[in-house]
Subunit: 191 residues, 4 copies
């Protein structure tokens, strides 16, 4: 079975996720600069989540690029990833509305952790389908960045309860780590 519709459907869902987050930026009823001030944490949490969803789209793009065929298990592993990604707008809104409080920041980490694990599961399903010696498996490699991210999220969740900004610092750090696209796959697949 081809991967075309899997990519198209994922693109659609990720495009909607990344765009509906902006609906949390509620239009103020007053028309001065001061009216924007309470929106600053909402804007910053939107910015961070936009970058995260962008990272997932980028990595999904890279990973699927090396895929040649999909089966039912892969379709479900992909839907599972989309499910957790679809919760990012909710936790983003919660963090923004409450001006970066501990509990919302911790829950943000829980959702990022689940996204990270779901991405890992999708990678495993793809490798299982293509074989351990496939160019996909070689290109994905040991995925040290993925393991570091998941560990960072797991650490950030309890630390957010101590102080919300520790959690935020972790999430920003992981985003910076991923911001650089996956050179491994890019170099292997280069003509």
């Amino acid at each position: 079975m081809g991967k075309g519709r899997l990519e198209a459907f994922s693109d659609g869902v990720i495009a909607i996720i990344i765009t509906i987050m902006v609906l949390e930026l509620k239009v103020p009823h007053v028309a001065d600069w001061a009216a924007l001030q309470p929106l600053i944490p909402v804007f910053l949490s939107y910015l961070l989540s936009f970058i995260y969803v962008g990272i997932y789209w980028n990595n999904h793009h890279h990973m699927l690029h090396a895929v040649t065929r999909v089966d039912g298990r892969i379709l479900w592993a992909n839907l599972h990833l989309l499910f957790w990604l679809s919760l990012i707008p909710f936790v983003t809104g919660w963090v923004g509305e409450n001006h970066v409080a501990s509990v919302p920041v911790a829950l943000y980490g829980v959702v990022l952790l689940m996204c990270g694990l779901a991405y890992k599961l999708l990678a495993l399903a793809l490798v299982a389908h293509h074989g351990k010696d496939s160019s996909l498996a070689l290109a994905l490699g040991k995925d040290r960045k993925g393991l570091v991210s998941v560990a960072a999220y797991a650490l950030a969740i309890p630390l957010s309860m101590l102080h919300a900004w520790i959690g935020v610092a972790f999430y920003v750090g992981v985003a910076v780590l991923w911001f650089i696209p996956d050179r491994r796959i890019e170099s292997r697949l280069a003509p």
Copy 2:
């Protein structure tokens, strides 16, 4: 006429349906764990509906995979299916907001029943267009799972009025039945 745009349009509509449901998870104004408690039924109804829409996307993907061409009747049979699917966010929100009460659960079953019948109609339109001896017709077979599902929904609607959770149990049961992708088509179309 090609099936490309039919698939692209269906992917778009289904991607939006699956994603706008998450908007029912309203961001709480308080930042503690207790604020999440009233959202638990909303979250669970979202999860169930996400799985149902995922099942429909998966089955749609499988069925269309075996299709070679479409006509006007098929376009309308497909839009008819999308119409009933588009009502899933509404009934999901109603079930979640009212903490799984009888009437919303029964209406949820009505919408699932109509989706099941619409899917069946689409399958019939496709078989009529491709011929009873086409590989599509053979791959779809007798569709026992489809018949069992429709019967289960029809049974679940009155039983939900007795007790809401009986209806929920039926819907979860049918979801489990469909969770396993359609091996018949997959095996027939395997190269």
Copy 3:
């Protein structure tokens, strides 16, 4: 320039238009059948608009099918059509919320009229680009259905002010007329 992205973008916009209309079906706070009663006009106006947007998608699909290339003017004629289609959710909501009152029904007709004219403009831009003797121009023909529809909308707008249901009757009548897909193009393009 290819028509691929024009089709993909139009599919995206039309998919969103057809789906966000369902957001007007606000989830009731009470869990009994009586709570659905005030939603009946909202549901019926959603159903009519779903059929209209479906008709436009179907006809767009058919017309673009016969197109071989596009230019800047066609891109803008298409965006112009999408603009008027994007107002359908607004007028649908207004008709539904006010239980089919005269002014909303008249405005609904204005938007349908503009959609009809915009579709006509797009057809003219396509014929101008492909030539009067192209298979597209022959397939589109005199477009009697389009002319009848536009005349019916123009008539329905003042008549809605006399009685709202006269307007509704016109819109339902035109929808029935278009419901049957355009056999002219289908038969000409058949292999």
Copy 4:
């Protein structure tokens, strides 16, 4: 790496941006023509933003048409453009809700300025990847329209603080300038 998914994802995001803006047109609770009057500025700001997003989609379409391959930097430059475009619904809503006041009109200009700069960055990333002598680089040329637009936005922001309608006049002027599709690329790529 191919450009297919970059185009598909951008189409999806732009389609959602252009469509969710219409949600700011809140359905009035009264059913007479007077109820539409307060919506006129909302409608006009929607119209202007629809045209702007349409211009970006058109130009994006033209520019990507001449692209043969993409890398990680281009994916991010594209996401950066989509980020600023995604803020257009917010500033559109703010301008419309406050009946074209100075501060919202100035902020609208800030977002247009950032969109303009982000588009320029994307063009530079594409030229860097394809080479200064590529047909893409030649087709893009000196981009005088882009420079004029950015200068006009930068000028319009402080002038909006003097009087809101001066800013609006600038934005309408730039829109008219861009309304005419980029003949340079179209003529160079013509067969």
